[in-house]
């Protein structure tokens, strides 16, 4: 239990979340569940990780604007030092 609370505190810091001591049980059971994968180690010896199913290079967006917008034209008001954009919450 002490171990789990220590883990919880580390995860809490890394994930930027407040986790509760009652989450300990679930987190421990998920961790155990993940550990069952270690049985597969011998089956994947020499295999490379697969991060994307098709292993093709992702095509990145062309670095050009489809249309240019002058940001100053969109500024309708400044509130407490922040710019307010008209499209927020507008239908």
């Amino acid at each position: 239990m002490e171990d789990c609370e220590k883990t919880l505190s580390t995860l809490s810091r890394l994930a930027r979340l407040e986790l509760q001591p009652e989450d300990c049980e679930a987190i421990e059971s998920i961790r155990e569940f993940f550990s069952t994968l270690s049985e597969a180690k011998r089956l994947v010896e020499g295999k490379q990780p697969l991060y994307h199913v098709w292993e093709t290079e992702s095509h990145l967006r062309i670095q050009e604007a489809y249309h240019q917008v002058n940001i100053k034209d969109l500024m309708v008001e400044v509130e407490e030092g922040f710019v307010k954009f008209p499209w927020r919450g507008k239908q």
Partner: protein
């Protein structure tokens, strides 16, 4: 049962009549079922239906003219809020439409509303929404499956004709199985993810849901296609609706996954076996196969999904997404407080475990190992689907009762036993109903080679003929 596709073909689809009937059902059942988070205004929708009717009368109908569609609430719409089922996004209205939404509008569809879902698509039952659980129209005490719970339920009580869901590990197919509807998880890259609120980028796909195979194919035709603005979009062959027809059973090779069958409930196995035996009797070549990687698919999937989720959900830092309701003295405090207050329990759990599997000292043991096992899963599935349609029950159980699996995460994850494989391998998978019993519906899942959607639809049409379960509904 006439499908929407047939009605559109014959000119029998009347948008105004369809809308009025659907609205009447929404008024009657929505309070109990809770399939929607947002429903658009009656008058606006009625005007759209009238315009669609005019267009049909003038002889210029588009592919989905006046057809009523529901959109899962993690798919961006510029005129309706998009919450992803989370309090974190309860004030969020996107500044643009998702690619698939644009395609729907261009095809003349009427988007009725945004459907309920497990928060950020993290769930298999539809109980983890910040807007309350969705109930299964077939049995209100049972779950409709998740995470596209509202899309499945809305179809089952005929609030809409078609629906969009998203599928990261079974989120279209489980609701399909539990609500006796049809759903497709497309080939990875076949449907643009632009405008989808991300959960696990390498696994998720937007997909069509309907009450029949041909209507699912119709919606797939509209939303699929290459999108240059989505780096994961791929150019593929597409489908021709006119070419679809029930598969010839004598030319069909089916591979049944033994491990999934062995882990399934008796009633599920019985319904599944009945259909497989009929296919065999009609000439299909049925083989019972073992997938070496099957026993590892669940931990592999959950490690990868949670790692990607932890990264994706880091953007919710208490800044622009918190509706401005909470203001703490420092960014650090604001960040932690907002995330802790506005994320639900399951989301927090998955972010924490995602951070764990990526953390120093554990990364190789969990995340990297999972990506290597994923290669094994993918290669095995690609090998098998080269000349075979892989079949299994979609869910090992019938729809659980509400609350039955909410407190034990592992029993919740076990529901995805048959579905996560297709996401890990990137192949298409189709769910369709094969039985409706007192304990709820049962579904079959078919997996094919990449871009094998047409094979899946044809096999699905054949199974529909065998079971007679085309266009079924609960209420």
């Amino acid at each position: 049962m006439t499908t929407i596709y047939q009605q559109l073909q014959t000119g029998d689809y009347d948008p105004v009549e369809a809308f009025e009937k659907a609205w009447e059902r929404i008024t009657r059942h929505e309070k109990t079922v809770n399939a929607f988070i947002t429903i658009d205004d009656y008058n606006k929708l009625r005007v759209k239906a009238e315009e669609a009717s005019k267009r049909i009368r003038s002889g210029e109908p588009r592919l989905l003219e006046g057809v009523l569609v529901a959109v899962k609430d993690n798919i961006s719409t510029s005129w309706l809020p998009t919450t992803a089922g989370s309090r974190m996004l309860s004030c969020y209205q996107p500044p643009y439409n998702a690619y698939v939404v644009e395609r729907l509008l261009e095809a003349g569809a009427i988007i009725v509303g945004k459907t309920n879902m497990d928060e950020f698509a993290m769930g298999s039952t539809g109980e983890f929404s910040a807007f309350g659980p969705t109930r299964n129209p077939w049995d209100l005490e049972r779950v409709p499956g998740g995470s596209s719970s509202g899309s499945g339920a809305a179809l089952a009580y005929r609030a809409v004709d078609l629906a969009l869901g998203s599928d990261t590990g079974g989120s279209i197919r489980l609701p399909g199985a539990y609500t006796a509807t049809v759903g497709l998880k497309p080939t990875y890259g076949a449907v643009s993810r632009r405008g989808l609120i991300p959960y696990a980028n390498s696994l998720e796909q937007i997909g069509p849901m309907a009450r029949s195979v041909i209507d699912t194919a119709l919606l797939y035709k509209v939303i699929s296609g290459y999108d240059p603005l989505d780096a994961t979009s791929i150019k593929g062959p597409g489908i021709e609706l006119e070419r679809l027809q029930p598969a010839d059973p004598s030319k069909l090779k089916i591979c049944v996954i033994k491990e999934v069958l062995e882990a399934s409930q008796k009633q599920v196995v019985a319904a599944f076996t009945r259909v497989i035996e009929k296919l065999e009797a009609n000439g299909a070549d049925v083989n019972y196969v073992s997938l070496k990687s099957q026993r590892y698919v669940l931990p592999t999937y959950y490690i990868i999904a949670m790692a990607e989720a932890a990264s994706n959900l880091a953007r919710y830092d208490g800044g622009i997404y918190n509706c401005g309701s909470l203001k703490m003295p420092t960014w650090e405090e604001q960040n932690i407080r907002v995330r802790s207050m506005l994320f639900g329990r399951e989301v927090k759990r998955r972010i924490a475990m995602g951070v764990f599997v990526l953390s120093e000292g554990y990364r190789d043991e969990y995340y990297v190992l999972a990506t290597r096992v994923r290669r094994m899963v993918r290669d095995e599935v690609l090998g098998l689907t080269r000349d075979c349609i892989i079949a299994s029950p979609t869910s090992p159980v019938q729809p659980p009762r509400l609350g039955e699996r909410i407190s034990d995460p592992l029993s919740l994850y076990a529901l995805d036993l048959a579905t996560v494989t297709a996401n890990l391998a990137g192949v298409p998978a189709l769910q369709l109903p094969i039985a409706t019993t007192s304990e709820g519906p049962v579904g079959i899942q078919l997996m094919a080679r990449p871009w094998g959607e047409e094979d899946l639809f044809n096999t699905g049409l054949l199974i529909e003929e065998i079971t007679g379960l085309r266009g079924v509904y609960a209420l």
